[in-house]
Amino acid sequence: MAHWLLLQLLINGIVAGSLYALLAISFATIYAPTKTFHFAHASIYVYSGYFLYQFAMGWGWPLPVSILGGVVTAGAMGVLVDRVVYTPLRRSGAGVMEVLLSSFAVFVVLQSVLLLVWKSDPRTIRVPEVLKNGIPFGVLTVTPLDLLTVATAGAVLAAVAVFMRYTRLGKAIRAIENDAGMAVMVGIPTEGVRMATFFLGSALVAVAAVFTALDKGLEPTIGVQALLVAVVAMIVGGVGSFPGAALAGLLLGVVENLGIWKIPSEWKSTITFSVLALFLLFRPSGFFGQRVARYSE
């Protein structure tokens, strides 16, 4: 009996992990080139879920249109946060620390506005029955929604990889990540690219949020947890390595879910944190990252 249970948990882990991979990539897309620790990313995550809710349940749009709407609105919101808060702050000569502090403040403000608009009760989004009816494979079950989640996450991740490698914009993003000063010198319009990274990162986090919302519903507080997963996966994968972050996200999902076998599910984030702690102690550069400098030994 234990064997199939473990296998079922592994499947659940892969479903969760594919979304975690998206989370990690979405955070890294913004963090790597702009060096902005965008804490309000947690709010963008929650908002995209609530946008979906508003479009699908509030205004009765068809589900695919609502999903697309949620993703695009979230992308625009990310750009807006950067343009209204971070960029003016940067231009006024503030350092990295001030921008980070402001991102905490943005998180708090957005979170509270959300509470005023949508209240704190949990929300669920009505999904066509077929999506949630489990398909049995022997003793194991998978829902079509799970399959759709994994397929979408995989497709999106592949698209991002192609985009980063082969398009002009993707190359520009990587150039800025590598050396922002040099990027300016060779004539890359860094401000425009910055806006693109915020749009892309926010849209990516929205994809993860949308699928989570369809499956598990919404609560105003889910953002912090998601951000923790994103950040931990980025560290474990190695900062600056997109494949590393995606792989680490997948791994984190599997580890968390296998952990449920022995550990109650409310300790999920403790498992996440333990993984982080182990990596910070023994391998701070993650799987594929560059060596992290220490100031003193």
Partner: protein, 289 residues
């Protein structure tokens, strides 16, 4: 009048929390989002020892400080030796976990129901007396913070803030300074938490969230980072103004988001237009900048 002294106590307690956070954020430029977790450790340690073990209030403080010091030391050693954003990430993760521990370790903490009927020390039962007690602790905390700030040790902290590599290059063990100030700050925060538990007489996990940590950061920034008196002013302003909301007929479900929006916006505006805060850091004579 009783309510007035209650607010005074609250201001003093948040003063202690903010001053202690300022040691880390203002003096040393280490950004921690786990301060509420250390406040929580103090509050839970005091509450558990008081209600379950019959400890005297003042006897709980060394225990609370020891636990907070130990835990913060482990966190600091593992994250502060790395450069970059690692300590932020470490403190963020730690904050989330500690909240989960408070919430889910029901056998110890009472989980979401929290701990009720936390007694105050006998000699300080009334709000007036409790206000005097908390102000006394605030005074001690300010004294410690000033002594730290003006000592050679404090000057090294500021040197680390301005240029970490330069501080290391003149032979200062940067990691040791960062870890020690972080531990000191967390121990002071645990005292603030213990006093908080005594004041409210009831604690639950929802007080010690990351929102509270960010609130404390906002108090440091708005008061003036690097100026410990500014921290007290910041705490006074941001505690008293939302308390005023009580006199209007605003339901709590609306009042608490409004409070958060208020300090969030203030924090953004201060960072943008007055990054030195209400009381800017004063440079004492003999301090090289």
């Amino acid at each position: 009048m009783n309510y007035f002294f209650y607010v005074i106590s609250l201001v003093a307690i948040y003063g202690i929390l903010t001053v202690s956070l300022n040691l880390v954020v203002g003096y040393t430029a280490i950004l921690s989002v786990a301060h509420a977790a250390f406040m929580g450790i103090g509050a839970y340690a005091a509450a558990l020892l008081l209600t379950g073990w019959g400890f005297n209030f003042f006897a709980t403080l060394p225990v609370a400080m020891a636990v907070a010091g130990l835990v913060s030391g482990i966190l600091a050693v593992s994250t502060l030796r790395l450069k970059g954003d690692y300590y932020i990430i470490g403190s963020f993760g730690f904050q989330v976990i500690l909240y989960n521990v408070f919430l889910n370790w029901i056998g110890l903490t009472g989980g979401p129901f929290g701990i009720r009927n936390i007694p105050r020390p006998q000699a300080f039962g009334s709000n007036l007396r409790y206000a005097i007690l908390t102000l006394g602790f605030l005074a001690v905390c300010l004294w410690v913070a000033r002594r730290v700030g003006e000592s050679p040790y404090g000057k090294v902290l500021r040197a680390i803030r301005e240029d970490e590599a330069a501080a290391a290059s003149i032979g200062k063990n940067v990691t040791r300074y960062k870890v020690s100030v972080f531990v000191l700050s967390s121990m002071l925060a645990s005292v603030g938490g213990a006093l908080y538990a005594g004041l409210i007489s009831y604690i639950d996990p929802f007080t010690f969230t990351i929102h509270e940590s960010i609130f404390l950061l906002a108090l440091v920034i708005i008061g003036g980072s690097g100026n410990v008196y500014g921290s007290v002013v910041g705490a006074a302003v941001l505690i008293v103004i939302p308390e005023a909301l009580r006199f209007f007929d605003v339901p709590t479900t609306v009042a608490s988001p409004i409070r958060e929006i208020l300090y969030g916006l203030l924090m953004i505006l201060f960072l943008r237009f007055r990054p030195k805060g209400l009381l800017p850091e004063r440079i004492t004579p003999g301090m090289v900048r």
